[in-house]
Symmetry: C2
Subunit: 408 residues, 2 copies
Amino acid sequence: MALIVQKFGGSSVKDADHVRNVARIITETYRKGHNVVVVLSAQGDTTDDLIAKAQEINPKASRREMDMLLATGEQISIALCAMAIEHMGYQAVSLTGWQAGMLTNSAYSSARIKRINTERIQRELDKKKIVLVAGFQGINKYDDITTLGRGGSDTSAVALAAALHADLCQIYTDVDGVYTSDPRTVKGARKLDEITFDEMLELASQGAQVLHNRSVEMAKRYNVNMEVLSSITGNPGTKVKEVVKKVEKTHVSGVAKDKNVSRLALIGLSDQPGIAFKIFSMLAKYDINVDIILQSIGRDASKDISFTVARSEGRHAKELLEENQEAIGFSTIELNEEVAKVSIVGAGMANNAGVACKMFEALFSAGININMISTSEIKVSVLVEERDADRAVQVVHDRFFDEFGSNS
Amino acid sequence: MALIVQKFGGSSVKDADHVRNVARIITETYRKGHNVVVVLSAQGDTTDDLIAKAQEINPKASRREMDMLLATGEQISIALCAMAIEHMGYQAVSLTGWQAGMLTNSAYSSARIKRINTERIQRELDKKKIVLVAGFQGINKYDDITTLGRGGSDTSAVALAAALHADLCQIYTDVDGVYTSDPRTVKGARKLDEITFDEMLELASQGAQVLHNRSVEMAKRYNVNMEVLSSITGNPGTKVKEVVKKVEKTHVSGVAKDKNVSRLALIGLSDQPGIAFKIFSMLAKYDINVDIILQSIGRDASKDISFTVARSEGRHAKELLEENQEAIGFSTIELNEEVAKVSIVGAGMANNAGVACKMFEALFSAGININMISTSEIKVSVLVEERDADRAVQVVHDRFFDEFGSNS
């Protein structure tokens, strides 16, 4: 008998049929003798609908009231799912964030879980009930409802799994698991049986939208065994763990693409110490995250600095730097919004210098220009023109995952 | 400076425009220097929509989960209204039932308020905030969400007014106040400036759907000054109080009609003691409420008993009695679903024997047959054929409220 936490996203509970399907998965797990704690997101478009309602009334609504409003979405899901489970003849109990003891800080709309008081959940499990917990929400020390922001329900699930010392945390979604690349666009993409937390983190932040980084980081920290799987097919999914046995000696686990990138280039900076610090501390002050940074020597003892930011922040960053042109001291600034980042991720990569080389070669053979390069222990990212991105992913993927290729 | 509790029903907050209108009424009260606590119902059809969702998944959903589901409706209303108030530049804070300290018993879907812990509300009022409380809901001692059932938000408002020792409890609705009869169907119906709790109770239970009896009973018990008024017109409404000064010496405050009635007749009962008890205790066991009862001597030392029940319970009551025909001992049972109850209500009635007489005379003059009669301290009800009901109300109303009539 194990304790299993299962999380189902909004598309998995979007209507009565889907709720019934989820109830079936839950009760099947329960029937095998396991204790089951379920975390649910709001149904389908509920959250968007609620946001639209709020926008109509007050486009600048306070975050506290937004959280009060949005928390109802998950509450509806858990109640309906509990009813579906009851209908199948099992005992269920739904719990809101506060009932489930999810204590957070007070950062409305992006709260962090501080502690989970698991007493109530434990008591319900002891009564052999299936426990349904509203994801994405908690309460702060003032007894006010908070929400966890993006990826909140995944985070709720992992946090509960950690607090309850669950044997497994299953994240049900509308895909079969984690793939070597996006199966909708990359030919030959295949499902991974296992992946490490670190690889998952890099894949997620590189644009493979399966699990939210925040939940993976938490799973890594508390060593929660995760599994990503489909609520529709019932196929085995992808296990996410600290260490995985690589059956094949693949160094690369996946190829990811991220189009949410803009590149800024500051040209003709005077070559003085502290300039980079000036630029990036200014951006940090305005919460603009910088990803890849490239510094190069320009002509006449001047230098250039290029870097990437999320596309939504490109214009803001440009304006900010322009306003401070004199203080920083540069001659021109360029914003390129038609770029994309392509990355390979793999835990075995650091010990194998040939991996990056193989990636560059594949891109070169396809005639694709590399703008910038960034590497870490377990990934290599390159910036390419956006129009080349899909082809870049495909040729890199072919190079590493083609069965007749040389990487196996 | 007074403390005013304002309650707005579902139709008053059904969309963004209506929410803004409600926010305007609230902030106008606040601007006059009053402390304002607001109780809101769920928007428009929200509750019905949620019930339909539940029905689709489980027609026999547990009441606990129904309450979990339905409580979201009021939570949405308070958050949206708080946003509208913020948008007007005032400080508001929304509180769910549990946050507002509404402690109830555990009768899910028809919980009764046991106590209100007003600390949180008081704290927010001290900060000069407008406090918005989700009506219809509370929590029980297990920290589970409960709902109060029919008329729940009115009850929440009155209970809060009592607990906070509010100076006034304003119930905003879509009518201007309490009328001498339904102004949509009765010519010459006019708004009452004042009415006593007892009269209001009789009018409500006789089918004048303005205030729910439960809230009026509570207001009477705790002597909460109530006012019923329109959220649209802004006209002065009707004050509901313990004692009212009757400017005109009207003995009758209103004429009400109730079509939600069925009449059952048991014919040929043996004339033994205890038979009535047998019948009505059986119905009580199945929660079937009996209203008017008439017992008459039949032929051959047998007797007949007729009584009225809510129309939705007529068939059930008939079946129940038929199943027990032998034990009770009657020859035939008749169910008449085409009847209606017409009542006159007025605190001055008991001391004026002429009032009932005048009613009967009006009906007689109009050729309307009276089936059954029931009287109390402050009301006279008659059962008539349903097809005569509207006309009956009109002629009775004309008789008492026609300016040229004899009652003033």
